[in-house]
Amino acid sequence: MNNLKLSALMLAVALSASQVMASDMRLDDSGRKDALRLWGVQFEELEYRYSDDDEELGVWNGDAFYGTDELKLRWLGKGEYAIEEQAYETLENQLVLQTPISTFFDAKAGVRFDTPEGPDRTYGVLGITGLAPQWFEVDANLYVSDEGDTSAGLDAEYELLLTNHLILSAALDATVAFSEDEEIGVGKGLVSTETGLRLRYDLIDRAISPYIGVVHERKYGDTADFARAEGGSTEDWFAVIGTRIAF
């Protein structure tokens, strides 16, 4: 057995003396040849809101991902929990696949589940997300519900560095519906906007950043009419306190 190996070895040595071919070379199986697989969890908003009508809300807006530069699986979640009523005004969960389409933008596709107090909806989601010129973070999505209604959402955010640790962020979320879905109180046209101004301080790296801020919510058109009919408000101002989390 050993003799056999030895002769094989001699043969190999004899061959190698005259030629080294790329095919003889070791293939990189160290893992370096595999795309980096990474994960991350982030809550852009995790806050307590107190409105000018003495309404109290617990609110979050977060996401988590796993994947490579080329393909990521991302969960996005939004929730507004009315503390007194013990009910979710908003509860959204999205699961999307995300892939780069240009230097600064990614495309996403997936599903969104809305399960607040009241009727549920499931949507198909198609969107782009990325960094626009002048440092605007943009997230634009198109939704088609299981009821056949279509809507679109645009989120934009801008950060102003007062210092390298004290950061003022301005966020604008707008929703437009292309058809009416009265059951969930959505009218055709501009549905609602949420504008927020938050002043945060990076306490521990960028992992924990407490903030205070103000948020303005407004409903428009038919949506506002539906809200009024329900006895709800169409415009609210909130004082918010919370923390941004990234890990």
């Binding site: 071919m21 780069p100 960094l131 002048q134």
Partner: protein, 591 residues
């Protein structure tokens, strides 16, 4: 069995060697205390940094490396010329050293000078797995000194390196706390006027680039020989003595500007190769580079070795003193440099031709025209839209850049010049003393290692990346998607590095020397790591004299890990020599 037999056969064939040394290294989990924080890391023989390995030129070394970790490890002998299967890159040179096992490296030492070694597995090196190598020459040194010290620098970060990579991928500016603030904007307004300040901000914002993007990973403590600034590593001397300081930058990411206030330094070696001595007040040491200097303190006082990081976010400090416990004054950190448009010159997706810089400053710039659907920096992203981009680029006139009137723009560098930085670059270093700052242009080989000859061909390597995604690549392709670079044994290849990013990249070719083209012909210095500054093109030549396969990469840990890496295959080779190692490895693997 086969292996030992093989070794035996080889042993018989080899001439009897006068020198042979055996060394043992264990790879261990260690505690690293920087004075600012304590963390767990990886080290050698129980400490980080590991030992100083002292070899002698001509020695046949045997190094037994025992892996006490619970993961695969490896040791790469940075800058050493050796058979490729001893080079220590898992997946390229060998399979790596599995947990709990011992691997024996054997190779002849064919050179002298200052080098270092480090793990080439995962993020073990930034986590502490590095040490130094000092090789005494066969003959006399072409310089004299009374004593010598290794001065090994690193940028020790409180975070684990894997976490740093993840954070950078999540938020590329995660560690950048030198960004331009509202306050900076208003001071720009008062200095340059509102419109100039605004258009400057707009120009950078349009590119989605930060001029403060000089140091990606901040928040580290600079260490010298494992000691933080407060722990103050001290080297003793007698006044009047000549001291040789062997500077090694083992940082993951940080370049250092090094000076010893009160002492002139004479640079005598770079990357292990002797250079014609140059007197300097300060020098910049790139990641993975080494510089040997001779200093001569004549007075009975302490001198501070002060190494500021290039982005001024941290520093390392040590002391040369006649007696233990003495301290010299520690200077303040200088202001952080800012990138200028000149540093962006390499990003050819930007249509500089349309930026009417000549007459009316920035006002002629039409950003609307520049926007290519969120892809105006398309030079960085050829992989995505190759068809549309290339023809447009071909007609672009870069010569306009040269005529650009940087004077009419803000922050157009500090007026200092260095041929290895873009003209008007904000990164050009100047000496704190006002004196001489070492440039690559000052480096001349003491004795040419190779005959000067025409290169047989040129290979262009564009250094590319996308800061927002923190992905780095060569020619727009990450290592995971790239084919190997094939070289033929015996050729002399001219590599053309074109830095299209705004970061500095220390490019390191394993196994063969990098002859940096400084325009000095046969006196061009011979290095193992070559820094390529933003917006510049740098040439190096390599005599392809080492068969096998080798790594070739940016030595910034997180750039290499995110794709700025290549395998080089040297095809062909001499009749006898290292090639046997390939088969040995292969056959050995089947046993």
């Amino acid at each position: 069995m086969t292996r030992s037999l093989m070794a035996g056969v080889l042993g018989l064939l080899m001439p009897a060697l006068a020198l042979a040394g055996e060394y043992n290294i264990s790879v261990d989990r260690v505690i690293i205390d920087t004075g600012d924080f304590v963390k767990e890391g990886i080290g050698y023989n129980g400490s980080s940094p590991g030992p100083v390995l002292r070899f002698k030129e001509g020695e046949e070394v045997t190094i037994n490396v025992t892996n006490n970790l619970d993961e695969t490890t490896s040791i790469h002998w940075h800058g050493l010329i050796l058979p490729f299967d001893q080079d220590g890159v898992p997946g390229i040179s060998f399979a790596g050293i599995p947990a709990g096992e011992t691997f024996t490296y054997t190779f002849p030492v064919v050179q002298s000078g200052t080098y270092w070694f480090h793990s080439h597995s995962g993020f073990q090196e930034p986590n502490g797995a590095y040490g130094s190598i000092v090789i005494e020459p066969k003959g006399r040194e072409p310089f004299r000194y009374d004593r010598e010290y290794v001065v090994q620098l690193t940028d020790k970060h409180p975070h684990d390196a894997g976490r740093i990579m993840r954070n950078l991928k999540m938020m590329p500016d995660y560690y950048n706390r030198k960004q331009q603030t509202v306050g900076d904007f208003f001071s720009d307004v008062s200095e340059h006027g509102f419109m100039t300040a605004l258009s400057d901000r707009m120009a950078w914002g349009d590119m989605r680039m930060m001029k403060a993007d000089v140091e990606d990973v901040q928040g580290f403590t600079g260490l010298i020989n494992g000691k933080g600034p407060d722990q103050n590593w001290t080297g003793l001397f007698e006044p009047g003595e000549r001291i040789r300081l062997r500077f090694i930058n083992s940082s993951a990411m940080a370049y250092f500007d090094v000076r010893i206030p009160g002492l002139q330094m004479t640079v005598v070696q770079a990357d292990g190769n002797n250079v014609q001595p140059v007197n300097v007040d300060e020098f910049r040491i790139g990641v993975a580079e080494t510089y040997d200097v001779i200093v001569r303190p004549r007075t009975d006082e302490a001198f501070t070795i002060f190494a500021e990081s290039m982005g001024r976010s941290g520093y390392a400090r040590a002391t040369l003193a006649p007696r233990e416990g003495m301290e010299g004054p520690v200077p303040e950190l200088r202001d952080a440099p800012l990138l200028t448009m000149a540093d962006m010159g390499g990003m050819h997706g930007m249509d500089h031709g349309s930026m009417g810089m000549g007459e009316d400053g920035m006002s002629g710039m039409d950003h609307g025209d520049m926007d290519m659907g969120g892809d105006s920096m398309s030079g960085m992203d050829h992989g995505v839209m190759p068809e549309q981009e290339e023809p447009a680029m071909a007609g672009m006139d870069h010569s306009n850049m040269a005529g650009m009137d940087h004077g009419s723009m803000m922050m157009s560098g500090n007026g200092a010049e260095d041929p290895f930085y873009a003209k008007g670059s904000g990164l050009v270093p100047t000496a704190a003393s006002g004196g001489k700052f070492l440039s690559y242009a000052d480096l001349k080989a003491q004795k040419p290692l190779y005959e000067d000859r025409e290169p047989t061909r040129e290979i262009e390597l564009r250094l590319t990346g996308n800061m927002e995604r923190y992905s780095w690549s060569i020619n727009g392709i990450k290592y995971e998607d790239a084919d190997a670079i094939k070289l033929q044994y015996g050729e002399r290849v001219r590599f053309k590095f074109v830095n299209e990013t705004m970061m500095t990249h220390p490019m390191h070719l394993h196994g063969m020397w990098s002859i940096l083209d400084t325009g000095a012909g046969k006196w061009n210095p011979v290095k193992h790591t070559i820094s390529v500054q933003p917006g510049t093109t740098v040439y190096m030549e390599t005599e392809v004299d080492a068969p096998g396969q080798w790594a070739f990469h940016c030595h910034l840990s997180y750039h290499a890990a995110s794709g700025m890496f290549r395998k080089v295959i040297v095809e062909g080779g001499p009749e006898q020599g290292n090639t046997a190692g390939v088969e040995q490895e292969r056959v050995g693997g089947d046993v």
